[in-house]
């Protein structure tokens, strides 16, 4: 049996050594990890807008940076829909309740679309994604999800192309310029219905995920209505 002081010294040395090792690893790898997170975010924003990599394969880091820089401008809005001088990078969705980041897709001063971050509860987990909007500020252009913990094959289908393509061209504003949101119906959309303009096909076996998506999408869209209405006045 060894003495208590030996045990104490030994454990202290081990702790200091491994603590040092960990801090070296964490700090030296941090810059690369941050780039990965940034690239991933940019890829998702481009994906929501339907912008694909040129070589029909995978995005390279340089290509993402280049395409993003040339096409996307990120700004932050206050709750009345006016632009602020903040950077979307510094907005923490959980803390800054009154500031909303929005990404504008521009080519030569022409606006091709908007992208807003969306998130909310599904069945098991919080879903995170982006929602792209046409320049008319009332039609969906695309949707992507980059993080969720829903059941694969059921709620997890939200990440599949067939479900996401569903949203393209659907409106979330009715004839009276009121936000109505996009409805996820059970089964397939009845094309003859008056409501079909704002309905998408649901996922069988994933009612709660679909309802959750419907609710948080509308809530998130509501935050941007002030801005969209301002835009419409300019156009109109």
């Amino acid at each position: 049996m060894r003495s208590n002081s030996y045990t104490l010294i030994f454990t202290s040395l081990i702790t200091i050594f491994f603590g040092f090792l960990l801090s070296v690893a964490a700090t030296s790898l941090k810059p690369r990890q941050d780039i990965n997170i940034e690239i991933d975010m940019k890829k998702n924003i481009l994906g929501a807008l339907g912008i694909e990599p040129k070589n029909s394969g995978k995005w390279s880091i340089d290509e993402v940076q280049k395409v993003y820089r040339e096409n996307i401008v990120g700004i932050v809005l206050d709750k009345d829909g006016y632009e602020t001088d903040k950077d979307p990078k510094n907005i923490d969705a959980d803390k800054d309740m009154n500031f909303f980041p929005i990404y504008i897709h521009k080519t030569n001063d022409n606006i091709n679309g908007y992208v807003i971050p969306i998130s909310g509860k599904g069945l098991w987990s919080t879903l995170y994604g982006y929602f792209a909007i046409e320049p008319d500020c009332e039609t969906a252009k695309g949707i992507t999800f980059y993080k969720h913990g829903e059941t694969p094959g059921l709620g997890g289908e939200v990440e599949k192309k067939w479900f996401q393509d569903n949203f393209k061209g659907k409106k979330f504003i009715d004839g009276n310029n009121t936000l109505v949101g996009i409805q996820v119906v059970k089964g397939s959309v009845d094309k003859s219905s008056k409501e079909a303009y704002r309905q998408v096909d649901g996922i069988s076996g994933a009612t709660i995920t679909s309802k959750g998506l419907e609710v948080f999408l509308k809530e998130d869209l509501a935050k941007y209505q002030a801005y969209f209405n301002l835009n419409k006045e300019v156009i109109g």
Partner: protein, 208 residues
């Protein structure tokens, strides 16, 4: 003189078949269920576990005569935890998409019974070379089962293996459907159970 002594060879070879950590010692089942939906994740998980096992076994074996008996478990745990965190950080920096898919399961290697089991049962009593081999062997034994389960699950559940589509599109148009059960946890239980059973039959092991 042979390159490896008989004991070293056994340290390496035993866990591959005769005392496989998953199918015979039934350790590390949790991750075997979680990361085997796709072959690719199973392969990366295997490599991570081999790296952690080999390094932790070697480190602990080097320290084995210095570690005070009273606190040996916590010392083993800090060695293992450090290694796992470093690997997690490396994956986040260099294989970001993969680390997203494996999510918490890399961090959970810390609690994988195989790693601590080998540290306590082997590395504390044996020299660093044998301990290293024992680590690699156990990692491979674990990975072999992991990848076999993943091959079945991805093939039956997704029609592909290692991301390459195997089941032709034409078959789907004739009404073939992927087996949804396979991508869920119960699918892994069924496959793993069958593999354990077959392995025991071929290894000639009777009920305990």
């Amino acid at each position: 003189m042979a390159l490896l002594s008989k004991k070293s060879k056994e340290a390496f070879k035993d866990p591959l078949m005769a005392s496989n950590p998953i199918s015979l010692q039934v350790l590390g089942i949790c991750s075997a269920l979680a990361v085997t939906v796709q072959v690719q994740t199973a392969v990366v998980m295997t490599l991570a576990v081999i790296a952690v096992l080999a390094a932790s076994n070697t480190t602990i074996s080097l320290l084995r005569n210095k570690i005070p008996g009273k606190v040996r478990i916590i010392i083993q745990l800090s060695v293992i935890a450090t290694l796992v965190i470093v690997i997690d950080q490396i994956l986040k920096a260099y294989m970001y998409d993969m680390s997203r898919q494996l999510s918490v399961f890399i961090a959970l290697i810390i609690t994988n019974c195989i790693v601590m089991g080998r540290a306590e049962a082997f590395a504390m009593q044996n020299n660093p070379k044998d301990s290293f081999l024992d680590g690699v062997g156990n990692g491979l034994g674990y990975g072999g089962i992991l990848i076999s389960v993943a091959v079945f699950r991805e093939f039956l559940g997704n029609g592909s293996v290692y991301g390459v589509q195997i089941v032709p599109e034409t078959l789907y148009s004739y009404g073939y459907e992927n087996m949804g059960l396979m991508v869920l946890a119960p699918g892994a239980f069924v496959i793993l159970g069958l593999i354990v059973w077959l392995h025991r039959i071929f290894a000639g092991i009777e009920a305990e």
